[in-house]
Amino acid sequence: MKTQFLDFEQPIGELEAKIEELRFVQEDSAVDISQEIARLQKKSQGLAKDIYAKLTAWQVAQVARHPQRPYALDYYEGMLTDFHELHGDRAFADDAAIVAGLARFDGRPVMVIGHQKGRDTKDRIYRNFGQARPEGYRKALRLMRLAERFKLPILTFIDTPGAYPGIGAEERGQSEAIGRNLFEMAGLRVPIICTIIGEGGSGGALAVAVGDATMMLQYSIYSVISPEGCAAILWKTPARTSDAAEALGITANRLKSLGLIDTVIPEPLGGAHRDPAAVMQSVRKAIADQFKLLDGLSPEDLIKRRHDRLQSYGRYKEISVV
């Protein structure tokens, strides 16, 4: 598949196109141009390195939303074995924006839950652009409870612009569905390892991201509101989206420094889509590392530890009150 380049990557894109052209003519060429190709490839790498060394928060958001970025099902396929999708909330419908089921991670049975975006227009509509409705969150909760009964750890993969803001979603209790998950996940007696692989969009992301470890891919984002939404509300113009992204502090490194996430998982230069296999390997290792930390804990210790982590979130000061 041909790599799509984002606006700010255009210099790399142009160079890559030139390399592609040269490769095409190389076979018919009387002179050897392989050296020239190698030189350009090196230049392209250097260019990518320069651009990615100083990405703005808004540029990171665009990488996180890249149409070729690996999605949850890609991780299931590339990183897990024996995946069996389980469907439906048993009350209303099956929500295709959340894909979940039983699988094996390094041979051990686990429950996996993740948001799923679509690749092409038809698929995107089917997946509702990764925006879940209440039935999606209720399916997730049903399967988390199932996992708890059979003592299976839960792996979640977060990638959503946010919970779906629709009439039906409101009628069926979008708020309740999200709140219920936050409430129940705090008390589940099995390890929950959460990885943000693309967009961590507000409450719709958090509804499957409460657990014992929160990890983020290097170029993923996690935010209380989309930069666009924040710019529209606080600056009253979409032109300030980049400023909003910066102010909100949505990038992995920033959130790590605030103590809100545990691990930043490195991505290849240019983002996860440039080398999906390498990313899967990194995510697999990061999850395995978390298992090492969590495996020895009793359910009581696990819940206590999770509770303490959740209670540590927040910045305030204390004054003496008369």
């Binding site: 919970a163 069926r172 509804a207 209380v224 102010a247 809100l260 979130y313 927040g314």
Partner: protein, 289 residues
């Protein structure tokens, strides 16, 4: 402007709250937003800000609500020691610290949640109440921490916990810290529920966004005030997304009751009796006559 207002002398010719708070005395008159009846302010104050003519529930400050709810004796404030800081150095058209200072000035509160321990009709409890006039009742680190400390106080004292909500959602100026308060508050309630101690959630106008999508709907009993706007996404956002006009009464308390999202709608003037009765039933106590 109504003919009546034109006749009013300038000193009282203003809507309550329309002007910035100043050294001017409180307006004597107020117009009901719903039935447009002109009301004597004192009548409104004595009626918990409910219009005596049409029963429209106007917004009420956190402290006035607690005053009208708790028994006068033996109540005291909790969690006031927790106050806000600007961790992200957030600045949009204005700095977060300026917005905080302005809200503190206007409301006399240090943040958007007031917590008290006391009793209702003799039943001891911890109550938290949102101050909507403080940055739209938005939840940041302080609201989250005060909520958690309130729940922990309820657990320590072995008393029920009641929360009155009025919030536009998470406080954007605290970035992801504010989102995490949703998980933090719900984790505290998870602990309360295993004791078990009751949590009654009272949704007032408005209860939206991140506050709605966390502890609002997971009360053991969920009550709403009449006509309150309650929902996850704001009506404008939904309209822009689905490109349809929203049905009449969408996201109002009555709509939520019909959809099965809440247990009951209770008039503010009966709230004290209803909350006390429910708590007495859930905790196996009887109410003093």
């Amino acid at each position: 402007m109504s003919w009546f207002k034109k006749l009013l002398p300038p000193r009282i010719n203003r809507d309550a709250g329309a002007n910035k708070r100043s050294s001017m005395p409180e307006g004597l008159w107020s117009k009901c937003d719903s039935c447009e009846a002109v009301l004597y302010r004192t009548d409104l104050d004595n009626n918990l800000q409910v219009c005596p003519k049409c029963a429209h529930h106007n917004r009420i400050s956190a402290r006035d609500r607690l005053d009208g709810l708790l028994d006068p004796e033996g109540r005291f404030e909790l969690c006031a020691e927790v106050v806000p800081v600007d961790t992200l150095k957030f600045k949009d058209s204005r700095r977060y610290v300026e917005r905080l200072a302005e809200a503190q000035q206007a409301t006399g509160e240090t943040d958007a949640l007031v917590v008290m321990q006391g009793s209702i009709l003799g039943l001891p409890l911890v109550v938290a109440s949102f101050e909507f006039a403080f940055m739209g009742g938005s939840m940041g680190s302080v609201v989250g921490e005060r909520f958690v400390r309130a729940v922990e106080a309820a657990i320590d004292q072995k008393v029920p916990f009641v929360c009155f909500l009025a919030s536009g959602g998470a406080r954007m100026q605290e970035g992801l810290l504010s989102l995490m308060q949703m998980a933090k508050t719900c984790a505290a309630l998870q602990r309360l529920s295993t004791v078990p101690l009751p949590f009654i959630s009272v949704l007032t106008d408005p209860t939206m966004g991140g506050v709605s999508a966390s502890f609002a709907m997971i009360g053991d009993v969920v009550i709403a005030e009449p006509g309150a706007l309650i929902g996850f996404a704001g009506p404008r956002v939904i309209e822009q997304t689905v490109r349809e006009t929203l049905p009449d009464g969408f996201q109002r308390a009555e709509f939520l009751l019909e959809k099965g999202a809440i247990d009951m709608i209770v008039d503010r003037r009966n709230m004290r009796d209803r909350v006390a009765a429910l708590l007495a039933l859930l905790t196996g106590q009887s109410l003093a006559a």
